[in-house]
């Protein structure tokens, strides 16, 4: 095109595409179009069924007929406090807390390395290594662990060959957490939970650490903080939102899981199993609903406490 031709065309460069013009002039139209389906989905399918669930927990079961009585009562919640049910809750919370703490302890150094030091192909390797366990079926992994932890499994064999059988026996002899073999003990269940949920702790923690600028670490050192103090006063507080986000995953996933406690571990119930049997075989939907409310309340309290402690101040 010659210089002279520039500026001699029409002011309107392209008269087509009326629809994009419409979107340009009415941005809310596009926004509404994009947001309506997900809002309907969340509003009706998710929040709606959650409210129905809540409502169900305030109904009770008729002791004689075994049918649901549709009148509001707190008797179902009172049942939660009966020792058999309350034990299930305490057991589940203890396991979820242990899994969460262990995941955080393992995840932090891994995430720290990945966020601050890994570059290029090492970073890619990190992502693949963390994500790969998520690619295979959850059931396959749990059954694989069952074999690993079984009395005839590789861990027992390894302990025997390394003449550490006494150590394994000692661990299994521990009260409450031990058992006849790792695959029938709380320790085994704990190991599998940590393995399965660890990526959900690593990824948000890594993302939070990634956002900490190097200059803040330099500034802490500049102001006299040695590496340990820098970690405690600057890096850890700034990684806290990520750790809290990760703990929401590990905590609630552990609380709600009913497959791992069923395949690995003792015959004692966890919340997920209680919900499963109450709404299935037992047909006690109100009690199942009440059990489901427990993790929701716990997470709500947890987030409130985290906020009060300033976990989200840097967000």
């Amino acid at each position: 095109m010659s210089v002279a031709a520039i500026g001699k065309g029409s002011v309107v460069a392209n008269s087509g595409s009326r629809i994009s013009d419409l979107w340009f002039r009415h941005p809310w139209f596009l926004l509404a179009l994009l947001l309506t389906p997900p809002l309907l989905w969340i509003g009706i399918v998710y929040v709606g069924s959650l409210l129905t669930l809540l409502l169900n927990s305030f109904y009770g079961l008729d002791d004689f007929s075994g049918l649901i009585k549709y009148e509001l009562t707190l008797s179902t919640y009172a049942q939660l406090l009966q020792s058999a049910n309350f034990d299930i809750i305490v057991r589940s919370i203890a396991m979820a807390a242990a899994v969460t703490i262990a995941s955080a302890v393992i995840a932090f150094p891994v995430s720290y390395y990945a966020a601050r030091y890994a570059r290029g192909k090492w970073k890619a390797f990190f992502y693949i290594a963390v994500m790969m366990p998520l690619w295979s079926s959850y059931l396959v992994k749990v059954y694989a662990w069952k074999l690993i932890l079984a009395k005839e499994g590789i861990i027992t064999w390894l302990a025997d060959t390394m003449r550490l059988a006494w150590l394994l026996d000692g661990i299994l002899a521990l009260p409450v957490v031990g058992g006849p073999s790792l695959s029938i003990s709380y320790i085994g269940m704990f190991l599998v939970f940590v393995y399965v949920w660890l990526p959900y702790m690593i990824l948000p923690t890594q993302a939070a650490l990634e956002r900490v600028p190097n200059s803040l670490v330099d500034a802490a050192a500049d102001l006299g903080a040695n590496p340990w103090l820098t970690l405690r006063t600057v890096i850890l507080p700034l990684a806290l939102p990520g750790l809290v986000a990760g703990s929401i995953f590990t905590f609630s996933l552990t609380l709600g899981d009913y497959i791992i406690p069923q395949i690995i571990g003792t015959s004692r119930f966890f919340i997920g199993q209680a919900v499963y049997t109450q709404q299935g075989t037992a047909g006690n939907i109100p009690l199942a609903a009440a059990f489901t409310v427990v993790p929701i309340v716990i997470m709500g309290v947890y987030l409130w406490v985290a906020k009060r402690l300033g976990a989200f101040d840097a967000l």
Binding site: S215, A221, D222, G224, L238, A314
Partner: protein, 338 residues
Amino acid sequence: MTIAVRFDKVSRHFGQVRAVDEVTLDVAEGEFFAMLGPSGSGKTTCLRLIAGFEQPDAGHIEIFGETAEGVPPYRRNVNTVFQDYALFPHMTVGENVAYGLMIRGVGRTARQSRAREALAMVKLSGFEGRRPMQLSGGQRQRVALARALVNEPKVLLLDEPLGALDLKLREQMQEELKSLQKEVGITFVFVTHDQGEALAMSDRLAIFNEGRIVQVGRPNEVYERPNSRFVASFVGSSNILPPELALRMGGGRHWTSLRPEKVTLSRGNTPASPSQPSIAGKIMSVHYQGSQTRVTVGVDSDMRISANAPSTQGAFREGELVTLSWRPEALHAMEQDL
């Protein structure tokens, strides 16, 4: 005179890149010292070497007579104002300023009152409870300054601290920083790529290029007597005359610098003052700059000389015939052939 910072043939290489290459430098105690250079010239790496964030690959660094190599940043009595301020987002302004004191184990009430004093010094009294996020760029800059100064460092390092501020605020902060430095008497080492800032604020400045120091001196020395083509063109703007042209214009056979404000412009063939050397030419371009007009005149087929004409002289037009004249001492021969 005590030497605050001494560099002796200091080098810092990143792979093939010689970020700092055999730099030798003395900064005197109580001095406002500027490190000026284009980006990638090594000035920031020099600052990080003083702070301790980088360790030299070769050479020797002394801070107040003590060897600095191998000393981690948290053991150096040196503080930094970072380019992005690096305020801790999870702490209040007060906690940020008191951070260094907290680390050193100063008690809560003592450090709070000292943080208050430091904030008063930078005119931010009453901001203790705010979050860094709630402050403007200029206010953050002051907090960063207070956070560094409250520790009473022996040397204060400033890494392009005014770079993110808009022009008016930058000029105001330049004056405030300068008077603050006089008030506290601490040695300031100030990194900037803005030559105007370096000239306006520093007692002495070093010009960096490609990891080396090209020239060190007081602002007027560096401006009036640049030692190389690089300094002449980087500090202010200058007509850099090749040896042949310099000879024709009454100088020696050297690369020569002639500042545009030292060239007088007159219309037609007559020089403004007949006793002065002069050269005639045709106007190639005119840039109106407010109080003055930058006029570029073609004197040869390929040589151009710029002159700053006061705008009171009236408008010049492209293509007009003019005569340039200057006082012989305005021609400055540069010793370095760079």
